[in-house]
Amino acid sequence: MNRWSGLGLGISLVWFSLLVLIPLTAVIVTSASGGWAAYWNALTSAQTASALGLTVGTALAVTALNIVVGTAIAWVLVRDDFWGKRALEVVIDIPFALPTIVAGLVLLSLYGPNSPLGLNWANTRVAVFLAFAFVTLPFVVRAVQPVLLELEPEAEEAAASLGAGRFTVWWRIVLPSLTPAITAGAALSFARGLSEYGSLVLLSGNLPYRTEVVSVRILSYIEGDKLIDAAAVASVLLVVALVVIVGLDLVSRRVARHA
């Protein structure tokens, strides 16, 4: 390691620690200061457990959807030419740019009681799914797109000339190259779904046992001055996120290996 790369590593580590590691450790330390009792308290609350189940389940479902639809959108954007492609390129990122409360307002006017489509999904679990799907849409698309652009068509042509069918080419040649990107996008999408709050404020109704998500529970604990409980629930979320991200990584390695 030369002097400059050492400096780079030092700056990166300091920045990463200040911004991520220290606050994360503080959450865990705070939650641990209540001992197991705090975790027990937080997790045996039926309302919290229900919110946790809804949030994790919906985030997983939305991530699965994003893996399929996101990859398809990226494919269309890279491999196909059509009228309005440039516009779609730009529009894809809007869920990133829009303040989430505005996203909630948009979704409410589209899928709420005054829906021009005649669909009233406000204050139901469908609304939670929709909101998660809306805010996480760009992750897989934007992760897969550059990899797809770099992919050499020669490999696919060679496989086809050797008699491989379309499915085989996709399954043995294209997918293994895309898998790391899909996994990265999926992990981001899942993590983003877990923490979503803003777009749900108006849309989901926050109904306990029905549409209440974990971030609302955490906010409730904070409002009730129960910071240890809040930190305990937050640390459970961290563990869930970690498990899913590691799991996705394992799957990705597996798929990449059979290339």
């Binding site: 309302q47 406000a122 709050y197 803003g198 404020v201 306990p208 409730s220 910071l227």
Partner: protein, 353 residues
């Protein structure tokens, strides 16, 4: 865990709070910052006062600041203001947000500052017990009241969709739930009947948005038939042109909002508090939808009230938090996660559907 222990943890673990803030993303949306400079103060000696408050009385405070600037004590005062959710603002002050004057929705948000040693113990010793504005819980309906709602009994009819802010995540939303429960008692009912009413009420709840303002927005989007809100919020919405009406029920709850001056505040902050509690100050609050906390405020027509000439009708029966034994007793009885009536009812009604 006791409140004091929670506060102690709070101040020592401010890093943890920051991290939770990160984890929950954009939900702490206090609109910190912004300043108002009322009056054209020509005097060279300006004093900066920091006001930290909940969002609702911003207009009233700005109007009072303008009049305050015309007084001897208020000349040359420049305001640095921060408005947001009451609980968030109170916690921000404990965590070091600079404040001379605080104006919160709930007494507990001032009590938190007393426990943190920032506000004197006797802050509520004055004749108004620390309160600077009053209001009542009202039922908001769409313009023209198409469902002919006249009182609480109409809310538990089959199919009525109620919107009320979430009592767990918004402290101020608790007024509404208490009003729904206590009106049964005020009308001569028993505790059992009140509980039965609240259960029927929650069966009809269509949404529990995060705050009073979010609830108003959801209601305006048509997500419900009635909105439980505060008289001042309804008047302010009508003043800003929103299409809604409201009903002041015969039995309801008195809402009282406190303000306090911090121990190390500039003395002119105390002068502002005195001004807010004067006839001149209360008149400004009255114009913007709040009921006065003192006698002798001259009559003003209040634009936005259902009857601008008689803006603040006296309900037949009015209950106060003090009547119920204070916030600590109310929180333990109604809102505590383990022993509270409201989580119990929410569990029963939420699981059923």
């Amino acid at each position: 865990m006791s409140r004091a222990a929670a506060l102690d943890t709070f101040s020592r673990r401010s890093f943890g709070i920051g991290a939770i803030g990160l984890a929950v993303g954009a939900m702490v949306s206090g609109c910190v910052g912004g300043s108002a400079t009322p009056g054209g103060s020509g005097s060279a000696a300006t004093t900066t006062l920091h006001l930290v408050g909940f969002a609702v009385p911003k207009e009233a405070n700005n109007a009072a600041q303008k009049k305050f600037a015309e007084t001897e004590a208020g000349r040359g005062v420049v305001w640095e203001e921060s408005y947001g959710a009451s609980g968030d603002q109170s916690r921000a002050v404990v965590n070091g947000l600079k404040a001379d004057y605080v104006n919160f929705s709930l007494e507990g948000d001032v009590t938190r500052l007393v426990k943190a040693g920032l506000v004197a113990e006797d802050w509520n010793a004055g004749p108004t017990k620390g309160m600077v504005s009053d209001s009542v819980v009202v039922i908001v309906v769409p313009k023209g009241n198409p469902n002919r709602v006249t009182g609480w009994a109409d809310l538990v009819k089959p199919g009525v969709r109620i919107i009320t802010p979430n009592p767990a995540s918004s402290g101020s939303a608790r007024w509404n739930i208490l009003a729904a429960y206590q009106q049964v008692i005020l009308a001569g009912g028993t505790e059992a009947e009140a509980k039965a009413y609240l259960t029927a009420f929650f069966n009809n709840v269509a949404a529990l948005p995060g705050s009073g303002r979010d609830a108003t927005n959801a209601f305006l989007q048509g997500a419900g038939d009635v909105l439980i809100s505060y008289e001042n919020e309804a008047i302010l919405a009508r003043q800003s042109g929103e299409e809604l009406d409201y009903v002041v029920p015969d039995e309801t709850l008195l809402i009282e909002n406190p303000a306090a001056v911090l121990k190390d505040a500039n003395p002119r902050a105390k002068a502002y508090l005195d001004f807010v509690l004067s006839v001149a100050g209360q008149t400004e609050f009255t114009k913007l939808g709040f009921r006065p906390v003192i006698d002798g405020v001259p009559h003003v027509d209040v634009e936005g009230a259902i009857d601008p000439a008689q803006p603040y009708p006296e309900p037949a029966h009015l209950v106060t938090i003090a009547d119920l034994g204070g916030w600590d007793a109310v929180t333990a009885k109604f809102f505590d996660e383990k022993t509270g009536l409201v989580p119990e009812i929410q569990a029963a009604t939420g699981k059923k559907q």
